[in-house]
Amino acid sequence: MTDRRSIGDMELNAYLDGELESSARAEVEAWLATHPDDDARVAGWRRQKDALAELSAEVLNAAIPPSLSRAVTRRRPAARSWMRAAAAVLLVVAGTAGGWYGHGALLQPSAVASADGDFVRNALGAHVVFAPEQRHPVEVWANKEEAHLVQWLSRRLGHEVKPPPLASAGYHLVGGRLIADDGGPAAQYMYEDSKGRRITLYVRRSMDHGTTAFRFAEERKLSAFYWIDGPLAYAIIGEMPRDELLTLARVVHGELEHGG
């Protein structure tokens, strides 16, 4: 035990946290193999670190309170109208030149869990059809008749369905439309960011009035999170990575939970 301190606690911690180069790592491993006391202490720190990572983990998946997401919105500079116009022109060009949207075989039923498959598949289908639409992306435009839009869709669904404000996440409401879904009427709200990227929120009456966690589905480039909250089922869809859409889903959920 004369060399007791030749590998100290700071190095042992750096080993635990993956902060060591491979040669130093090998030295520590050799040390631990012959020093059971230190080995036990490192194991204790590791258990402690794992336990720490679990603390309040439920907050990570909770809805973001609107008071917090709106703290960000309040300071967001308003997008200038000429930028919107420029974005719209770009979008027209991209829409004409590109065109992966047109593929009819985009949605493959097998990629979606069968229990909720119909709901999220219908929502994805509606996104694929309407999101690339240039002249008629929505039936009712939010900038002209938002109040009427909300009233109309709420009446048809038999429950209030307000489009949550998503300015904190960089999206403004374009408008919405009524859609014929398997089980009856569904509402689709469409949002757009300053670059003209579109996401849709699809809402329908739920069958079982339960509450579920977020579930995820993807089809080609599209990501979807969907969940049930009491009388309504929601799906949010966008062409973006899972994590980016998850943030939006949390903002949407937070706004809906707190009454929008």
Binding site: G8, L12, A14, S69, R75, G170
Partner: protein, 166 residues
């Protein structure tokens, strides 16, 4: 994602850290709100491409330290020996979590900050050093002391709980 949207994406992590730090959910969200408002007021100081999460945690850390100083509490809290308090009887891993939270509360502020930034948030030593405005060596020594102290606090309480149950 633009910077505003990226900040919104960090809200869940900021909330969790604040909740572990403050323990009271409402106070924790107040801290997050202050942090967001401060961050947006200084957005021109943020350099795009650098670590947004570390930047936000820096702001939150400074707000927390300032608040404690204003409350007249020294940022360096001295610690009573473990045990002696009301220790609840053992019930599986719930005990470990409660002990861990209580023991965290007994760490000096500077050690707790390092233990949480590395352990809870998984920040690198370098990012932790940036958040706290101290050299990496200081992060390492605080971490080593904090973790060992935490381990002893939790072990001590668990042993005492077992004695009480018997």
């Amino acid at each position: 994602m633009d910077t505003h949207a990226a900040i919104v994406a960090e809200i869940p992590r900021l909330r969790r850290y604040a909740r572990v730090l403050m323990r009271d959910p409402a106070t924790a969200d107040d801290l997050v709100q202050d942090c967001l408002e401060r961050a947006l007021g200084r957005l021109h100081l943020f350099q795009p491409g650098t670590n947004l999460r570390a930047w936000l945690f820096t702001i939150m850390h400074n707000l927390h330290v300032n608040a404690r100083v204003r409350q007249g509490r020294s940022p360096e809290v001295s610690v009573d020996p473990p045990g002696g308090g009301e220790v609840e009887p053992a019930q599986g891993s719930g005990l470990l979590m409660r002990d861990l939270e209580r023991a965290l509360g007994e760490l000096p502020d500077d050690q707790r900050a390092v233990v949480l930034l590395v352990g809870l948030e998984g920040l690198s030593y370098r990012d932790t050093a940036c958040v706290l405005g101290v050299p990496v060596g200081t992060v390492m020594s605080r971490l080593a002391r904090g973790r060992e102290r935490l381990r002893r606090l939790v072990d001590g309480e668990t042993r005492q709980a077992i004695r009480q149950v018997r």
